[in-house]
Symmetry: C2
Subunit: 183 residues, 2 copies
């Protein structure tokens, strides 16, 4: 069981890397090779291309949920604590995660896989409920979440990331999550 | 001269469509075919793959500048008029332009082409100067621009666009550009 889980994890990570660069047109042979498993080993876990990419989308969405939960400060009990976790997880990811072009290429490529829209809408509904319980005004949440997501793609539209501006944006959004920010 | 300009335009539009779907790995033959021109006709205007994709990035950045200028209300003389043009151009594009996955695939694919980072940084500098002259506090501009860009990619991360939420976000950002918004 543990080995099976490990193989599944290895294949999903390899799929994320290869799809980010080559899109969903990538061959399952290439994914298997990148994962260091046999094609039949891959097919044992993911019987078809669509099932692999659907599982990948689900996995990425769940990894982000886990990253946000890990970024919530356990000593923070004020309204907006989940939003602050979202801000910090997003900017940590920009600073240390896969590059912005790879991340959007991956998300864009997966968005055309059958069933991915449904998985993402379910996650969106869960986020919405969680933010409702977080205590900030919905407009404030919408603004902060959209701006954080915009910061993720800014590197693509602006010819590279600007670390100082990213830090400034993170702090601006954190202030907004406390009901401050001078706006 | 007019024909040459027309061919150039046709090739750039075809390149945008094909790169959005297939990435920069697309063959110049495929671009020429999509444009309805001969390969040698294409090479006459764009002697190499990198020159074509660099010209495409420049063209897309200039098209967006033109769209924002067209969206500025000539009767609007208050601070933030350019920011309001940016908001309206962005949300018009989300509603009527190429799909969000195609747009980010295109931007992501072009970001790896040599020279594109420089072109985009020049445009970013020009936007920055133009926003400085627009009269809003820089943090307010940053927040609005990032949130508008985030709205563009939201459809990808959330399994599809939500027209009502997009309209709500547009109105929220317009209110913020007037120094309102209850934040």
């Amino acid at each position: 069981m543990r080995d099976a889980g490990r193989t599944r994890r290895t294949v999903l990570d390899a799929a994320a890397r290869t799809v980010a660069v080559k899109g969903t047109a990538v061959s399952l042979d290439a994914v298997a090779k990148a994962a260091g498993v046999s094609k039949s080993g891959l097919l044992h876990h993911f019987p078809s291309r669509d099932e692999l990419f659907l599982a990948l989308a689900q996995d990425l969405a769940e990894q982000f949920v886990a990253a946000v939960q890990a970024a919530v400060d356990p000593r923070d009990h004020a309204a907006g604590r989940l939003v602050r976790g979202y801000i910090n997880a997003t900017f940590n990811e920009i600073a240390h995660g896969v590059s912005a072009p790879e991340q959007v290429m991956l998300a864009g490529a997966l968005s055309s896989v059958p069933g991915v829209d449904r998985v993402l809408r379910e996650h969106t509904d869960r986020w919405e409920k969680a933010f409702e319980a977080d205590g900030l005004h919905p407009d404030r949440v919408l603004l902060i979440i959209r701006a954080a997501d915009g910061a993720t793609v800014a590197a693509i539209y602006e010819g590279g990331a600007n670390p100082e501006e990213l830090q400034h944006t993170r702090e601006l959004l954190l202030r907004l999550s406390h009901g401050e920010g001078g706006l």
